[in-house]
Structures are given as C-alpha cells and as structure tokens.
C-alpha cells in the first residue's frame, strides 16, 4: 500500500470514529438539501436544465482549442495579458514574477480551488509575500493552517465556537458565537488588507469565449474588492472553465448556485473583461489571466472520462456522497474532495498513487444522479479501477480473482465450496470477530448471518423429484 493510501485509511478510521464530527456534517447538510430542492423546483425542468448544461459543456470541452483561442484573443484585445501555463510550476513562477516586477508586498486573494491545486499560497509566502484569503471560510482555514475541507464550504467542519476561539487566539477578539459578530471581526481585518494590497488574486467560475470575460460567483463581495482595489489582478483559470457564449450564464449561474449552495442565485456575479480602460474611474491597472493545464489535457485525451472536464466545481456530489459525509473532506488528502476528486485526482496526480480513492466507494451513484452537468462519476470510479489493474495488477488480488473465475466456471466446485462453508461456519462462530476469524474485516463490526441450512439448489432438486 502506498503512502497516500495509508494516510487515507488512517484518516478515514479516525474520522469515522468521531461520531460528533459525523453528526455535525450530516446536520450541516440537511439545511442544504431542503434549500437545494426548493430552488431546483423553480427551474421549469431541472432534468432538462441538466441535459442542456451537459450539452453546452460537451460542446465547449470537445472544441476546447477553438474556444480557448477565442477567449484569449478577445481578452488580449482589451489589454489583458494571457499566460498559458502547462503545469503548476509555470503558474507559480509567473505569479511570483509579476509580483516582483510590481514590487508587491501584500496580496489579497479570493477563493480559488485552482490556486489550491497548485499550492500558490505556499509559494508566494516562501517568496516573501503576505497573502490573505478574503473569503470568510477560506480565511478561517488559512488561520488554522488547514486546506479547505470542502471545495465550496471550506470551513464547514467548524462550529461557531471553534471559529470564535480561533479569532480570539489569532486576532485577539472577544468570544462570541453570533455569526454576524464573527463576520464583523473578520471584516475589520479584511478591509484594512484590501487597502494595503498591491495585488489581487482570484479564480474564475466560468470563462466566456464569446466575449473574452471571466465570471466570478460569490456571496460576500470579497472577490469584487480583491479584483478591483489592488493595482494588479491575476486570475487563475483551469482550461476546462470555458463556456462558448455569454448567454450560457443564464443557465449556469442559477444552476451553480442551486446545486452548489442551495441558493436561487448567489449575491454577486461579476464579469471581468480587462484592466482599467481609458476613461474608467476604477479597476486594476494590469489584468493577467493564467490558463492552467496541469494534466487536464491528459483527461481530455481520455474519451471515456472526458466528461469529468464538465465539472463546474459546485460540490453537489460531495454533499450527497455517503463516503464524504462519514470521512469528511480532509481525509482525502486531495485538493478536490468527494466523488469528483476521486475521479480526477488519479488523472491529475498519478493513477497508482491515487487509485485507492476510486476503490473507497460503494458505487452507490448518488453523485452521478445529482451532478448538474451529468458527469458519469461513479462509473468513472469503475473505469479507474479497471485502468489501475490493467496497468499494474495487484498480485494477491489477481490470485484471488483467478481463483474466483476458476470456481465460478465450475458449478460443482462452487456448490461443494458452499457446502464446506456450511460445515465450517460453526467453527467460525467460535472465533467471530477475533484475530483468528478469516472474516474479521466483516465481523469485527458486523455479525455474519448464518448460511441457509439448505441451498437453493438442494431445495430445487428436492422439488423437482416430487
């Protein structure tokens, strides 16, 4: 077992034993389910909307070359600098370069999973820049030196009291469990940071090819300040974020809000098309858009799983995933948690290192059922399992499976083995749940039902004779 799989198992064991945490996550999501369903019903047809969204993303992803070119050239026409980054290192170098060139000291940043993916904050801090997260949830986990717990709700694992304690400890504020007071504490810190910052970093929810604009969805107004107050704005955009037309947002904005947060539409949705133009009173002097590949093109080359690039990072699949709900977001050890993370991480970071995430699933399919852009998530977990075995068969498992085939092709042997099982079962009962029990992985936490006294075959034969 590789180190990532071991870490995952340990974390999952730890988290599943924490009943209070499990209960907290279930409760936190109950409110989301109610709101999500309420606003899904406001669509004329949610299933029709999913079909349309999947078709739009299919068009975009399957003609990515054309749409990205269109997106970049329109941005450049308005003075935006577009940088095509093949990998994480290229982005990190580029952003550090821009910051140095402008003698930046302080950086303000709005929420971006793509920036998390390339560990941009670590790089910038190591290079001597101060980076402050302006999204409240992100700010909280930043103060805790933790990665986001959930790709949409980064601090969902924390209670108000925990946040109050954190603020008391790190910001010297007074103890309070009033959410408004907590927000005001963070806001006082943040307002100062916005004014001090020389550079703002953001992600993008959508990249509109037709108009050459990025679209940012938020609830706190922090992204608007992050992108417009500092003199330089850098947006990190995964290449799969492209939508062909501006009018596509009419579907995707409410869809993202509904599936992602159980909202009809988020409080702020803003389009950014370039730096401050002549005659405009505000906006950044420079606007950089970094288009990140980071092995997304490898996923693009995989026709079977290409639809994973449809993902709009709404997090709906996490919210319905019984694995996520029981092991929590940090157990995955990945930037993208839950089903979508289990599908794409093997592509982004290596199949053999991350195949365990595809195995850690009961394949229940709740993710696929809920995905607004219809990614075949749970079947892709099966595809990852198959690809991992084809590339490097696990020796012991191979032996077991060969034995399985041998027996299942010989009904007599199968019947005989079941008979032996019936004979041995009383012995297994004696050692049930102990280290001597061959079924321990099952029986340690669950009872093993007794095999039927007579098999179906025996009953069937007896009946036929009558």
């Amino acid at each position: 077992m590789n180190v990532h799989a071991k870490t995952f198992n340990e974390a999952a064991r730890h988290q599943t034993a924490d009943l209070r945490q499990r209960d907290w996550i279930q409760k936190a999501l109950a409110g989301y389910y109610a709101k999500r369903d309420e606003f899904k019903n406001r669509f004329q047809s949610w299933s029709g909307a999913r079909d349309t969204a999947a078709a739009v993303k299919w068009e975009a992803v399957n003609h990515l070359d054309r749409y990205l070119d269109e997106f970049a050239s329109r941005l450049e026409a308005r003075g935006t600098r577009v940088f095509w980054a093949p990998d994480a290192q290229a982005v990190r170098d580029y952003v550090v370069g821009v910051a140095r060139q402008h003698q930046v000291r302080s950086i303000i940043k709005s929420k971006s999973m793509t920036a998390e993916e390339i560990h941009l904050n670590d790089t910038l801090e190591q290079a001597g820049f101060e980076v402050v997260e302006s999204d409240l949830g992100e700010y909280i986990v930043q103060l805790r030196h933790e990665p986001p717990y959930h790709l949409v709700f980064p601090a969902m694992h924390l209670t108000r009291q925990q946040i109050s304690d954190l603020f008391q400890d790190r910001l010297g504020s007074e103890s309070t469990d009033n959410p408004e007071h907590l927000t005001m504490i963070a806001r006082r810190v943040m307002r100062r940071k916005y004014c001090e910052a020389d550079m703002g970093i953001s992600g993008a929810n959508f990249a509109i090819a037709e108009t050459g604009m990025i679209s940012i969805t938020e609830n706190e107004g922090n992204a608007r300040l992050t992108t417009s107050l500092p003199k330089v704005h850098v947006a990190i955009v995964g290449i799969e974020k492209v939508l062909p037309k501006l009018s596509d947002l009419a579907l995707f904005l409410p869809m993202l809000a509904t599936a992602g947060a159980g909202q009809p539409i988020t409080c702020y949705n803003t389009l950014y098309g370039g730096p401050r133009q002549p005659g405009e009173p505000d906006g950044p002097e420079e606007f950089h858009v970094v288009l990140l590949d980071n092995r997304r093109t490898e996923l693009l080359a995989d026709a079977e799983q290409r639809d994973a690039l449809h993902c709009i990072r709404c997090g709906a699949c996490l919210n319905v995933c019984p694995i996520f709900k029981n092991i929590g977001g940090h157990s995955y050890g990945t930037t993208y948690q839950g089903p979508i993370g289990s599908v794409i991480t093997p592509h982004l970071r290596g199949l053999q290192d991350w195949k365990h995430l595809s195995q850690a699933s009961s394949l229940c399919g709740a993710c696929t059922e809920t995905c607004p852009v219809k990614i075949n998530l749970h079947h892709h977990l099966l595809h990852n399992r198959r690809n991992a075995i084809q590339a490097r068969p696990a020796r012991f498992e191979k032996l077991v499976q060969t034995g399985f085939v041998f027996m299942m092709r010989r009904p007599r042997l199968y019947e005989w083995a079941a008979g032996i099982g019936r004979i041995l079962q009383p012995l297994q009962r004696l050692v049930q749940g102990t280290v001597l029990d061959p079924l321990r992985a099952w029986t340690k936490t669950r009872s093993f039902p007794p095999l039927a006294e007579k098999s179906f075959r025996e009953l069937w034969r007896k009946r036929k004779k009558l």
Partner: protein, 219 residues
C-alpha cells in the same frame, strides 16, 4: 424459493439452470474485467434459450442489464450479451413493469420500511415498483425512512477493504431504520440486507431484515 412461488402463483413456468454461478460482479467491480468476462460468458451461454431471466437482487440485475453491454463492448459476444441484458429483469421490475402486476395476493401483517438498493434504484431506475408491490400487501403498513435512498454501505469488496467507512454508513442507515419504529426492513437486494442485518444484530436491535420476495410469497 419465494420468487419461484410468486411466479408460479401468477401462472409462469420457472426453470433454474443448475450450471449457473455468479454474474461476475465481484471481479468487475474490482477492476478485473477480463476475469469478469470469463465468468459472464458462461452465464450468457446458459441463459441463451430462456424467454425471460428474473434476478432476485438489483445489484446482480444491474450487472447483467447495465454492465454486461459495457463489459462486452467490441467483443465477439456483444450481441449475445445485449440480448441477455434485454430479457433480464430484476424481480420487482418484472412484476410491475413487464407483467403490470401490482397485487400478487400476498398477506403480511406488520409495520415495515423499504430500503432502496443503490443498483436497483439508480442503475435500473426502480424507485416505485417494489413500493407499489408492498402497498398491495394485505396487513402491511409501509413507512418511509429518512433518506431511504442513502447507501447502506455494503458496496461489495468495499465492505471488507474499507470496513470502517462501510460500517459507518451502515450505522447511519440503521439509525434511519430504527427511527421509523418498523419491525421489518425490506429490500430487493440481498447484499444490502446482509449489511443491514449485520449492523442491526451487532447493535442488538430487533428489527428483522426481509427480502421483498419473502414478503410477497406470504399469503
């Protein structure tokens, strides 16, 4: 035998080819598709002459109906695999959607809740058929549990590869079951029932697990 009884009660002739074994799902789900194909090929040959194939578990049903066509995609046996998929039905699917039967003449007094096996529910789309059948059982009071569609945590080899996650999911499921105050939990998937029973028994709860056919066979 319960399925045989119900089908015969409805006037059908039932055969059970004794050469059949497993559908191959354990190998398929573990990523061993060649091995799964080797097992599946036999079943395809065995059931070639059957008019209709009825399967007791949604999970095995999904394997034959949904995954055989994918497993044999581009394979010389693809046509036969698709033919088998087309004539295969999960038990409740066969009764309700193929035969149009909702009342099989069953009587079963008690308060029960129904658990949706994920494969039956999401691969085969069988939300209503088992419930419709149960609603027509005399004496049976059917109550819905909270999040009936949430997985019980079995998931095949997942249950023993990740027992801590699987058990945690089982505990959530069993809490929902207990909350209904039902005496019975019914499902159309034997593997879910094994998981649910395993957790319930270990928790010392008295709720009994039953397969849909066990209920429908009672008169």
């Amino acid at each position: 035998m319960n399925i045989v009884q119900v089908l015969e009660r409805l006037g059908h002739t039932v055969d059970y080819p004794e050469a059949q074994t497993c559908c191959g799902q354990p190998a398929f789900n573990s990523g061993f598709w060649d091995e799964a194909r080797a097992v599946a090929e036999r079943q395809i040959a065995i059931f070639q002459d059957a008019e209709i194939v009825v399967i007791a578990s949604g999970s095995c049903g999904a394997m034959v109906k949904v995954f055989y066509p994918e497993l044999f995609h581009g394979h010389p046996r693809e046509t036969e695999a698709r033919a088998l998929a087309a004539k295969t039905f999960e038990f409740s699917d066969f009764l309700v959607n193929r035969l149009g039967v909702l009342d099989v003449g069953a009587r079963f007094p008690g308060r029960a809740t129904f658990h949706d096996g994920c494969h039956g529910l999401r691969e085969l789309g069988l939300k209503n058929p088992p419930r419709q059948l149960l609603q027509h059982v005399r004496g049976l009071e059917l109550v819905e549990m909270k999040e009936a569609e949430t997985c019980c945590g079995f998931g095949g080899t997942f249950a023993v590869k990740f027992p801590m996650i699987s058990t945690a999911m089982g505990e959530v499921k069993c809490a929902s079951i207990a909350e209904t105050g039902a005496e019975f939990v019914i499902s159309n998937d034997s593997s879910c029932l094994m998981q649910i029973r395993g957790v319930l028994e270990r928790q010392g709860k008295s709720v009994k697990t039953l397969h849909l056919a066990e209920v429908l066979a009672q008169t």
